[in-house]
């Protein structure tokens, strides 16, 4: 535990640590204070908060640390073997997130690269994120993360790699027919997030089944910006809830199902043998030495009962709680004004005044701009 705290403290400049807002300071402290197997989850949540609060240096360091674990391969790992065993919940494993969460970690890493004007590494991040989505069990939903596809193509577009951009934009249109592709003179990307993170819930017998539900208590569904006297609607390009809930069953689900079956079998063995043992205990004085055999049977029943009570088959329902529900995008030529008003609309098209905000376009040395905003603070989250 101390190792992680120490490593983090070494990684962060003292001045940065000293000046953190309380909510971010708390989120960073949680990385070392919480269980070690939640480290990546806490890093991702703290990184998102840091990004939301404009501390991109810290956000970058935290996303890098989280991605280092996400991309490392757990093979012959004792810790992973433990999470597979009968005696531990799936939540005993180191959190690396489900494919949609891993993909979103790459999305934010790429966003930070775009802010830094490093579109080549941004493109690498978006490509890597897209690969995470290739692990979906349901074939029709494999690698259909349109947001990352679009961002990969956009990165190639602003880098002047026309062939690579066209190839990806063409693929994007198969998933989002009618999507308005960027024109040659577009240099500004507007990206706005709405809603709250998909929630993971335990369902089934003893919570062995993982189910997804949309985030709660938000009503923004669409985004509009006002810049240079014009009102422009953004296109919703990705539903994170859809990405979470459409991947299909996971291989680990079969293991959890097996654990439930084992539990049910041992329960049944325990009940049957307990019945025999109970009769044997009553009758043992009459059977004399044979009573020892029944005592052994009772011991087996006890072991079966103990095993049943110790079998853990609950699915891992830890989730990255400050992700959005949807992401909306717009590309355009660079406007004269650097200040943009961002409005959020509900399902009926009415502006939700309390969410309206002003955001600033950031332009790199090569004249490429990014405007990223989110409807809600990264501290406005649902609890499991």
């Amino acid at each position: 535990m101390r190792r992680y705290l120490f490593a983090l403290l070494l990684a962060l400049p003292a001045a940065v640590m000293a000046s953190l807002p309380p909510s971010l300071d708390q989120a960073v402290q949680r990385i070392s204070a919480d269980d070690a197997n939640n480290r990546v989850l806490n890093q991702l949540q703290a990184a998102t908060l840091a990004l939301d609060l404009g501390n991109r240096e810290l956000a970058g360091e935290l996303f890098d640390a989280a991605l280092a674990t996400i991309t490392s391969v757990y093979a012959d790992s004792e810790q992973a073997a433990r999470a597979r065993s009968l005696w531990y919940d799936e939540g005993a494993k180191d959190f690396k997130g489900e494919p949609y969460e891993r993909a979103m970690a790459f999305y934010y890493r790429g966003l930070l690269d775009m802010y830094a004007g490093d579109y080549e590494n941004a493109r690498a991040s978006f490509k890597s994120g897209l690969l995470q989505d290739a692990f979906a069990e349901e074939e029709q939903h494999r690698a259909d993360f349109a947001l990352l596809m679009f961002l990969e193509a956009w990165s190639s577009h602003v880098l002047g790699a026309r062939g690579l951009a066209d190839e990806r934009f063409e693929e994007l249109l198969t998933f989002r027919p009618g999507f308005r592709l960027p024109e040659a003179n577009h240099r500004l990307l507007v990206m706005v997030e709405t809603g709250k993170a998909p929630r993971k819930l335990q369902d089934g017998i003893g919570g062995n089944v993982l189910v997804y539900r949309p985030g709660r208590r938000f009503r923004e569904e669409a985004v509009r910006i006002r810049v240079d006297g014009k009102a422009l609607d953004l296109t919703p390009i990705e539903s994170i809830f859809w990405q979470a809930s459409s991947r299909g069953g996971r291989p680990i689900d079969s293991i959890l199902e097996g654990q439930v079956q084992f539990k049910q079998t041992t329960q049944s063995v325990s009940a049957d043998v307990s019945g025999v043992a109970a009769h044997a205990t009553m009758l043992s004085p009459a059977f004399g030495a044979a009573g020892g055999v029944f005592a052994g049977v009772a011991a087996v029943a006890g072991v079966a009962t103990l095993a049943t009570s110790r079998v853990k088959a609950r699915a891992d329902h830890r989730f990255w709680n400050n992700l959005p529900d949807k992401v909306h995008v717009l590309t355009m030529p660079m406007p004269a004004s650097r200040e943009v008003q961002v409005e959020f609309l509900d399902a009926s098209g009415a502006v939700i005044n309390e969410l309206t905000q002003t955001a600033r376009i950031e332009v790199d040395a090569a004249g490429r701009g990014v405007l990223w905003a989110r409807a809600r603070r990264a501290t406005d989250v649902d609890r499991p």
């Binding site: 991309t71 757990y74 004792e78 690396k96 072991v303």
Partner: protein, 210 residues
């Protein structure tokens, strides 16, 4: 009888399973130096790692020095080796300077004057200093004065590309990486030397993460 035997087997399995415990690694692991030329046994992925950078730059360096068009000229040619025209189109995030810096430094050490390296990346700094000298803010220094800074004969360009594949039935991920290096004649536009480094890595994560 058969029932009692299976019950005994079941109890033996249960008893042995109950004794299994996880590995206690809470004490952590002390810092150790690892060989940059070998794959880390602890953290592995399918991206570009230290041993790949070391191996590729070593090979490119040897190849360049054995090329007479580059390393056999008199006077020694002036070359630029930096990441300006070295593009990353792959799915691996990387600081390209790690490749070009190592290549330039190892090349310069091994070339023994057969090539002259130009720090075009620092031309702004050089121009600013020359301006200070020429306006009399500072003196002229002790080496010499030249009418202009050095022009280059050759410049390194290159590209990092990758092809990824995921077998969703086994969750096996593989990445084929190709890193191309080329030296361009800055007057005539011809390519005087080319080198290619490629490798493929395959990995399969534990089932709990698939």
């Amino acid at each position: 009888m058969k029932g009692i035997r299976s019950l005994a087997v079941c109890s033996a399995v249960l008893l042995s399973a109950c004794t299994s415990t996880g590995v206690n690694n809470t004490a952590g692991r002390a810092t150790v130096y690892e060989d940059v030329r070998t794959s880390s046994p602890i953290v592995q992925g399918v991206g570009i790692e230290s041993q790949d950078i070391v191996a590729m730059t070593d090979r490119m360096m040897r190849d360049m020095l054995s090329n007479q068009l580059l390393a056999g000229r008199t006077p020694a040619p002036r070359v630029i080796v930096d990441s300006q025209y070295f593009t990353n189109e792959s799915s691996s995030r990387i600081n390209k300077n790690m490749i070009t810096d190592r290549l330039r430094i190892e090349l310069q050490r091994a070339a023994q004057g057969r090539m002259v390296f130009i720090g075009r990346e620092y031309s702004g700094m050089v121009e600013a200093e020359r301006e200070l000298k020429r306006t009399g803010v500072t003196d002229a220094g002790t080496i010499r004065s030249t009418r202009a800074t050095a022009g280059a004969d050759f410049r390194l360009v290159g590209r990092i590309t990758s092809a990824d594949a995921v077998d969703s039935s086994t969750a096996t991920a593989s990445r084929y990486q190709q890193i191309s290096f080329e030296m361009i004649d800055l007057e005539y536009g011809t390519i005087v030397w080319s080198g290619l480094y490629e490798f493929k890595k395959t990995a399969q994560d534990d089932i709990i993460y698939r």
